[in-house]
């Protein structure tokens, strides 16, 4: 057991509780997804098809060719660029996901661990799209951005990868801007009421 304390990206920045409008149901519910595995995989040149097959065999997901998700048992693969995916896993926590991917996809993809480098914030609630619209110039209308859809863009001038998981929106931010993002979110959601809960 390590003697070093592990701290999530928003540790000490965000505390559970109600922010902004106090009465009524909160318009937005926010939580930090902690200790999950995050990694990028980039296809080695000329191995795109082999990589797709290997991911299918190892993780039961077909890598999407565009900005969307493919979900296998335990791992979600999100397209972030040509030949590049962002992998998210709760079962393969922290560094374990990148280690697992590197092992199984050896020679087919370059794998890099980002489990410490991102804050993953989950936003849900009736006003989540109205809140995100204040910082994100993307059309989140469900007819356009359905379940599993994903996009890399900026929220309040901060780089963000966003994907939809059911009715929830997960946002991967650079760890270092966690405080600034929280400031933005608190201000953008104040009129609707923001409830911060912790999960996982």
């Amino acid at each position: 057991m390590s003697s070093l304390k592990s701290m999530s990206a928003l540790h000490g920045i965000v505390s559970p509780g109600r922010y902004g409008k106090q009465d009524g149901e909160p318009g937005v519910v926010a939580s930090e997804r902690r200790d999950i595995g995050l990694a990028t995989i980039a296809a080695r040149k000329g191995h795109e098809a082999d990589l797709t097959a290997a991911v299918k065999a190892a993780y039961g997901a077909v890598l999407p060719s565009g900005p969307g998700s493919a979900v296998g048992p335990g791992v979600r693969f999100i397209g972030i660029g040509p030949g590049q995916w962002f992998a998210v896993s709760e079962t393969l926590a922290n560094e374990a996901l990148a280690d697992d991917l590197a092992e199984r996809l050896k020679g087919l993809a370059s794998v890099a661990d980002h489990s410490s480098g991102r804050a993953i914030i989950r936003l849900e609630g009736p006003e989540v799209r109205a809140v995100l619209a204040k910082g994100l110039a993307l059309d989140l209308d469900p007819r356009v951005f359905g379940d599993g859809a994903a996009a890399t863009s900026t929220i309040g001038h901060m780089g963000a990868l966003l994907w939809r998981d059911g009715e929830a929106y997960d946002i991967a931010l650079f760890r270092s801007v966690g405080g600034s993002f929280w400031g933005w979110l608190r201000s953008a959601a104040a009129a609707f009421g923001l409830e911060v809960v912790t999960t996982s």
């Binding site: 057991m1 390590s2 003697s3 070093l4 304390k5 592990s6 701290m7 999530s8 990206a9 000490g12 902004g20 409008k21 990028t40 980039a42 296809a43 080695r44 040149k45 000329g46 590049q84 922290n94 560094e95 370059s110 890099a112 661990d113 980002h114 489990s115 410490s116 480098g117 991102r118 109205a130 619209a133 204040k134 910082g135 994100l136 110039a137 993307l138 059309d139 209308d141 356009v144 309040g156 001038h157 901060m158 650079f174 760890r175 270092s176 801007v177 966690g178 405080g179 600034s180 993002f181 400031g183 933005w184 201000s187 953008a188 104040a190 009129a191």
Partner: protein, 991 residues
């Protein structure tokens, strides 16, 4: 009698006369009703004089009932919320509103600066270009401040704005701009077809002119008090934004709008912004912005009580206010006759209808008879009444004159389509002879115009053109709208016979009353050779300021056309640009002000640094610890201590902010050979190497160390400031220059918390962190080694034996979630070895002592040769910057190259930025031989030292030069030396 709403028409209009709200104007307590504007409430209280004009301080009243108002500008609210130049005609009345008139002293009625009027002959077009030319020095010190005091508008609050603003994005199929008859009809048609619709109107009530006119719509009574029909009871998908002005059209269907969320309230409700800026992306847009009535220009036409005829109807029909009791109507079109009817029906007196049209009008004669007014064929040539119209002088078309007592002069010279948004992307309006107005010309892709904005006149025609546009826009978005329910409008209209100005009057005839531009100014400009409306605008100021000439531009163009003997259609108009109406800077900034101006990046151990009392400095977006001062220490003492402690014992510095890039692939080494001037393919696994990158023009771009973690895996570092730029450059090299290479790069900056542990005791500190069985002795882990280790009970760590300080040093990296834990562990492990943290200031001192180039030396003007790194440039391989970097001129000795400088007096600081000239030479450009890039106090040498770029520098060690800093007024002598002040042979690194 003011204060009692003497001019309120009981039972008239859409305001809630059952509820009373209080407000103050120039300190006077007044009342109005919900639904009023400040202008309508002032008029209801019998107040016609509301401001003084910009240049001549002439008394001014209310000309319009909308956002085009040139005159009725007031300071709204008080204290930190005071806002100047707001239009009384658009301010929604609320209980407790405070407003004050502008540009008058000591009071509105007795304004001393109205003496400016006597100097009017001196204040014509371009007066300040002509009058205040000499002597030049007087301009800044005397003329400009004097003019600024005398002229000008209101004053902003100088306190910070206490309210919040926000920005938001929206997407739609069809954006409808304006909710008058055409806009409502367009939104309804598009929404019914299934399109996602956004409908915006600048007013707080929907309906546009429907709110101001009487008449039937679809068989429903048009009596005052009716409500406009909204687009369906539950439209499929139509977002309605009231109090929202679409102020700009941009490329690609992007529109900007500002929503005045809380401007109609004393203070914004909790959590609500004052204003919200919308960026709307619309596949199709329909401009239904209506039209502006234009005045006729005649002598003293700026007197309070002279009002546009359509605005008179608005005040009577919508607000239930009599703008006057005795009216004269002066109009060149029959549409304005409704003003006479509406006034008469409201129980007010219409004294006369003055018709300037040569042919007269049977309809006008009939209305005059029906309203008990005189019908006079002629013109208004004078207006009496300094603080409000009392008498008008009429010259009839037989040459006879007469005066008529009245307190309201309703004028109309026809209507101009509000086509501003159609020209923001460069569209040129087209002159329509039969309508006598400019109509929209070529439209940007995805834009339509409907209703009065395209020149339609009747309500029926506006409804029909809106419906057609709404259906068409929906069709272009892929929907199938139903067939139109309204017949296409009959576009046959009687040709207009516009009367632009009355020549016979003697008083000053204003074209643009906001800027006090008179007919004489436009004619003067024409005589002086100005022929283009945009040039006349700059010369005379016609059409400038808050209203941008909405009621004056075309009149100005017509007068210019006449003065230059040209056809008005050929003269054109000024160019409209965003914003349509003024937009507050707060709305444009939104959330991003103060400390939220831009995002801040914090390292994983930021809180630990705060606990140590660190002082931070912004580098890029990062907050880095500059130094860790102890109580009673000066900044210099802190830095000296941190440097000395590191050199004597051990120090730790957070280097997590350095750019880190993960480079993988079978061609990763070959790729690095391309981007660095030196080779990496022969670098052994487990070793790191310093590398320099050039731009393709041969100048240095960035430097850093790159470690080889595996045959096909490298870990590159960049400077903190250039991390993004280097990433982008590598992607360019991968995708555009050498797409055939198998290499993948991704930023790893955020993943790793990294600390430099430097000093003679560094190994002991690192060794204490390692899990057992791992060896970092000098043999096992020599200088420039790298490797993966387990520390503190199994935490994976990357260890690099690198040194920026010149001491025995390591950089240790762990996944960022352990960063806070690691710095605390390092401090604990180092306690026995005398560890202390050091900041970027001490880091900077140590690198200067070692002669390492950094940002000030990698300044975009230096080459590898200049930096003393020319020998690193490989002769054998291709790399970015190779060809042009080898240019003779970039390698000749005379170029300024890196040297050290030691002041002859060690206690004298050498300024960075100072220039080097030969000893005894004058500090002039001709003698310039180089410049100081970095300077510091070296605790080791007990002397100030500096790095400099000096012509032929490496050959001049020992020479004494003069260091000149004319900016700060210092000159000192310094000796040129090697830039390696401390441990020049690097022995400390390798122990």
């Amino acid at each position: 009698m003011a204060g009692r709403q003497t001019n309120r028409l009981r039972g008239h209009g859409l305001v809630d006369q059952g509820t009373t709200v209080s407000f103050r104007f120039d300190g006077q307590q007044l009342t109005g009703h919900p639904g009023d504007t400040l202008a309508s409430a002032l008029l209801a209280n019998g107040i016609r004089l509301v401001g003084r004009s910009f240049k001549y301080h002439r008394p001014r009243g209310i000309l319009t009932a909308g956002s085009e108002e040139p005159n009725a500008l007031v300071e709204l609210r008080q204290g930190a919320r005071r806002e100047p130049n707001t239009r009384a005609t658009t301010i929604e009345l609320y209980d407790g509103l405070e407003a004050a008139s502008q540009n008058r002293w000591p009071s509105l009625k007795a304004d001393l600066l109205s003496l400016n009027q006597l100097a009017a002959p001196l204040l014509g077009a371009g007066f300040y270009y002509k009058t205040f030319m000499w002597p030049a020095a007087f301009w800044e010190k005397l003329y400009e401040p004097m003019i600024r005091r005398a002229a000008g508008l209101g004053y902003p609050s100088k306190q910070a704005d206490p309210d919040s603003y926000e920005k938001t994005n929206a997407f739609c199929d069809v954006l409808v701009i304006g909710a008058g008859p055409a806009g409502l009809s367009a939104a309804l048609a598009a929404a019914k077809a299934g399109a996602r619709v956004i409908l915006c109107d600048e007013d707080f009530a929907l309906g546009g002119r429907l709110l101001s006119e009487r008449g039937d719509v679809d068989g429903e009574s048009g009596a005052p008090g009716r409500r406009p029909r909204r687009p369906n009871s539950s439209p499929p998908d139509c977002r309605i934004l009231r109090r929202t002005t679409v102020f700009g059209a941009y490329d690609g269907g992007v529109y900007a709008a500002v929503e005045r969320v809380s401007d109609h309230l004393p203070v914004p409700p909790e959590h609500a912004p004052r204003q919200r800026l919308w960026r709307i992306v619309a596949k199709q847009a329909i401009v239904c912005a209506g039209a502006f009535e234009r005045p006729i220009v005649f002598g003293d036409n700026d007197r309070p009580g002279v009002m546009l005829a359509g605005a008179v109807r608005t005040y009577v029909n919508r607000f239930g206010v009599a703008p006057g009791q005795n009216a004269v109507i002066f109009a060149d079109n029959d549409a304005a006759l409704r003003t006479a009817t509406d006034l008469a029906d409201a129980g007010l007196t219409v004294q006369a209808i003055v018709d300037p049209r040569p042919q007269g009008s049977a309809a006008a004669e009939q209305v005059a008879a029906g309203t008990g007014a005189l019908y006079l064929r002629g013109v208004i040539e004078k207006v009496r009444g300094a603080h409000g119209v009392r008498v008008v002088g009429v010259r009839d078309n037989q040459g006879g004159t007469r005066t008529i007592k009245c307190d309201l002069l309703a004028i109309s010279g026809g209507w101009n389509p509000a086509l501003n948004l159609t020209t923001h992307l460069g569209g040129k309006p087209r002159w329509d002879d039969s309508r006598a107005c400019l109509v929209p010309g070529d439209l940007p892709a995805g834009m339509r115009v409907a209703g009065a904005a395209v020149g339609e006149v009747s309500t029926e025609a506006c409804l029909a053109s809106g419906e057609a546009a709404g259906a068409g826009a929906a069709r272009d978005c892929g929907f199938s709208p139903s067939a139109p329910s309204r017949p296409a409008p009959d576009r046959q209209i009687a040709p207009a016979t516009p009367v632009w100005q009355v020549e016979t009057g003697r008083g000053k005839a204003f074209v643009d009353s906001q800027n006090d531009v008179a007919v004489s100014d436009v004619k003067l400009a024409a005589r002086e050779g100005f022929r283009v409306p945009d040039h006349v605008k700059r010369y005379t100021t016609l059409g400038m300021a808050t209203d941008q000439g909405k009621t004056s531009n075309l009149n100005g163009a017509a007068i210019l056309a006449e003065a230059t003997g040209r056809y008005l259609g050929a003269v054109g108009s000024t160019t409209f640009r965003p914003p349509y109406t003024p937009v507050s800077i707060g709305a444009l900034a939104g959330h991003h002000r103060g400390t939220d101006f831009r995002p801040t990046r914090l390292t994983p151990s930021h809180r630990w640094a705060e606990e140590q009392g660190a002082v931070f400095v912004e580098v890029g977006m990062w907050m880095r610890a500059l130094m860790f001062p102890r109580p009673e220490e000066s900044a210099q003492e802190t830095v000296n201590r941190e440097v000395a402690n590191t050199r004597a014992h051990v120090g730790v510095c957070d280097v997590s902010t350095l750019g880190k890039i993960d480079v993988q692939g079978t061609d990763a080494a070959a790729f690095l050979d391309k981007v660095y001037i030196n080779g990496f393919s022969k670098l052994a696994v487990g070793k790191a190497r310093y590398g320099l990158m050039l731009r393709e023009d041969g100048f240095a771009m960035d430097d850093g160390t790159t470690a080889r973690l595996a045959e096909d895996h490298f870990y590159m570092t960049t400077t903190t400031a250039n991390a993004v730029r280097v990433s982008q450059h590598l992607e360019f090299c991968q995708e555009v220059l050498w797409p055939e290479l198998d290499v993948q790069t991704v930023s790893a900056t955020e993943q790793w918390a990294q600390y430099a542990v430097a000093g003679p005791n560094a190994r002991a500190v690192i060794a204490a962190l390692l899990d057992s069985g791992q060896d970092i002795s000098n043999d096992a882990f020599p200088y420039m080694a790298c490797g993966t280790f387990k520390i503190c009970g199994g935490v994976p760590a990357r260890l690099f034996r690198l040194s920026f300080s010149g001491e025995l040093a390591y950089e240790i990296g762990v996944p960022a979630r352990y960063g806070d834990g690691l710095i605390r562990a390092i401090m604990d492990a180092g306690a026995a070895h005398g560890i202390a943290p050091y900041g970027t200031e001490a880091l900077g001192v140590m690198r200067i002592e070692k002669g390492h180039a950094a940002g000030p030396e990698l300044n975009g003007q230096t080459t590898a040769h200049d930096l003393g790194l020319g020998r690193m440039m490989s002769k054998k391989k291709d790399f970015v910057g190779r060809f042009l970097g080898e240019r003779e001129a970039l390698n000749e000795p005379a170029r300024a190259a890196l040297v050290g400088l030691k002041p002859l007096d060690p206690k004298v600081r050498v300024s960075a930025g100072a220039h080097l000239v030969p000893k005894g030479a004058d500090a002039v450009a001709a003698n310039d031989q180089g410049y100081v890039t970095s300077q510091a106090y070296s605790p080791e040498l007990k002397s100030f030292v500096a790095l400099a770029m000096l012509s032929n520098g490496p050959a001049r060690h020992g020479e004494v030069l003069k260091v000149c800093d004319p900016l700060r007024g210092s000159e000192t002598l310094a000796e040129v030396c090697s830039p390696h002040f401390v441990d020049p042979d690097g022995e400390r690194l390798r122990v």
